[in-house]
């Protein structure tokens, strides 16, 4: 080997405590990484549905969901490809608020989020309740761009960002875990960045 690998001059020696292990600060950029064709969605026909183990399934239109009391997330997001975006913000509605409207049945333990593209991702119910998850349609004060999941995406910022399904279409409440798109293709079932749960078995 020639010279040993060194920390680049641009990276501070004191690691930002907001960075989980193995992550780097992507700064002002917001990389786009998707496995699918960017869909062409129209808020005039867009819907968001919650069904499964609920008292009454419900579908919201764009006008209905954006009329709900808003909620904001200020903080960090972490992509499994090793970038983190620190100190960013999103606005939308909290998943708690949406779940309250459908009355979750007691035996529900997990959710599957799905997208208008067909993408799916699974989450324990506890990871989308108590102020930990949103359906978000604004990023840093602007409408969420389509390449970042607009008109609206799921936002679960304490887990790797593949859990924050772009182009989200709904949540299904289940009494078991139902691994989703990446979770059946080698990625970790839960994806906690602080535990570096990137791949299956991590």
């Amino acid at each position: 080997m020639g010279n040993p690998f060194r920390r680049p001059a641009g990276r501070p020696a004191d690691r930002d405590p907001r960075l989980p292990p193995g992550q780097y600060d992507t700064g002002s950029s917001f990389p786009v990484l998707t496995a699918e064709v960017t869909p062409r969605l129209d808020t005039a026909t867009w819907t968001f549905r919650i069904d499964g183990l609920v008292a009454e399934p419900r579908t919201w239109t764009w006008a209905e969901i954006t009329a709900l009391p808003g909620s904001r997330y200020d903080g960090d997001i972490h992509c499994v490809t090793t970038w983190s975006k620190l100190g960013t913000s999103f606005r939308g509605v909290s998943v708690d608020q949406l779940l309250a409207a459908v009355e979750v049945q007691a035996q529900a333990t997990h959710v599957v989020a799905w997208s208008h593209t067909g993408y799916t991702t699974n989450l324990p119910l506890a990871d989308v309740t108590d102020g930990k998850a949103w359906v978000a349609w604004e990023h840093e004060g602007h409408p969420l761009p389509v390449e970042h999941g607009g008109p609206a995406r799921l936002l679960v910022p304490h887990l790797y960002f593949w859990k924050s399904a772009k182009w989200v279409a709904g949540l299904r409440l289940l009494d078991h875990d139902e691994p989703g798109f990446w979770e059946t293709r080698g990625y970790h079932d839960r994806g906690d960045p602080w535990l570096e749960q990137r791949y299956a078995g991590d």
Binding site: M1, R6, T34, A35, L53, W114, G118, R185, G201
Partner: protein, 258 residues
């Protein structure tokens, strides 16, 4: 997790992507880090180099999969990045990664500047279960620049296994000097030069367009698009405009775009 999942027969099925079975068992064994030995370093273009690695505990890869490379500094600082495997599947212990040197790329820059035959690198993998091709269905491969790497693995596999299923590779580069694996194209391949075409090229330099792509479409093929964010976005939308169903297009994007 509860023991007996409840059936919910009155619900519409969740939509699915693509024709592959979506419910293989989740999880699997942890893939530990291992020390690979660099066995070859072959420059492909001014910015792209192919690194041949020997993985003592390697696993046979599926064309399209990637390997994670981790560098660690003496002070403990480390950085890891994923690189597509460009070689055809072998015994699982020999893989070739195509690495493009990015401006400010801390890992790619180091690999290009410092790594020589005989050096050791910490690696994990192979990984990836979506942008993969098992050789059993028709495939149209469309790569931009170094995004051709996983597609070269597919092309090489098709040739090495003498497969008869239809496959065609299109690679888009700025100029002849930017074309990796230049000696390996020919039949089954189309090269698009976006800025400078070589003398005698049957197509003038210019961005990939519908007229170039349309005659290459293969009925019922899965289309694999790999490249920068801009290339992947433009190409995948072009394919949709040409009538290719979105569910039949698999995309791999790399690098920041904004």
């Amino acid at each position: 997790m509860t023991d007996t999942p409840t059936d919910l027969p009155d619900l519409p099925p969740l939509p699915s992507i693509g024709p592959v079975g979506r419910r293989p068992p989740a999880g699997g064994p942890k893939q530990p880090w291992q020390q690979a030995t660099v066995v070859s370093v072959v420059p492909q273009t001014e910015r792209m180099t192919a690194f041949g690695l020997f993985l003592p505990k390697g696993r046979v890869h599926v064309p399209g999969q990637h390997i994670v490379v981790r560098l660690t500094a003496p002070d403990g600082y480390s950085a890891q990045r994923s690189y597509s495997i460009a070689s055809a599947p072998t015994d699982g212990r020999h893989v070739e990664l195509l690495v493009e040197r990015l401006d400010d790329g801390e890992v790619s820059g180091y690999l290009h500047a410092e790594v020589r035959v005989g050096d050791r690198l910490a690696v994990r993998g192979p990984f990836g279960g979506w942008f993969v091709w098992n050789g059993r269905s028709p495939a149209l491969l469309v790569g931009g620049g170094s995004g051709v790497a996983p597609l070269v693995s597919m092309l090489r596999y098709h040739r090495a296994a003498a497969l008869t299923v239809p496959l065609h590779l299109l690679v888009s580069v700025r100029s002849p000097a930017d074309l990796p694996y230049a000696a390996e194209y020919g039949a089954q391949t189309t090269i698009v030069y976006t800025r400078i075409a070589p003398d005698g090229a049957d197509r003038p330099a210019g961005r990939l367009d519908a007229a170039t792509l349309r005659p290459l479409l293969i009925p019922d093929a899965t289309v694999y698009v790999c490249g920068s964010g801009g290339f992947a976005e433009a190409t995948s939308q072009l394919l949709v405009d040409l009538g290719v169903p979105a569910a039949g297009i698999r995309v791999e994007r790399y690098g920041p775009t904004s």
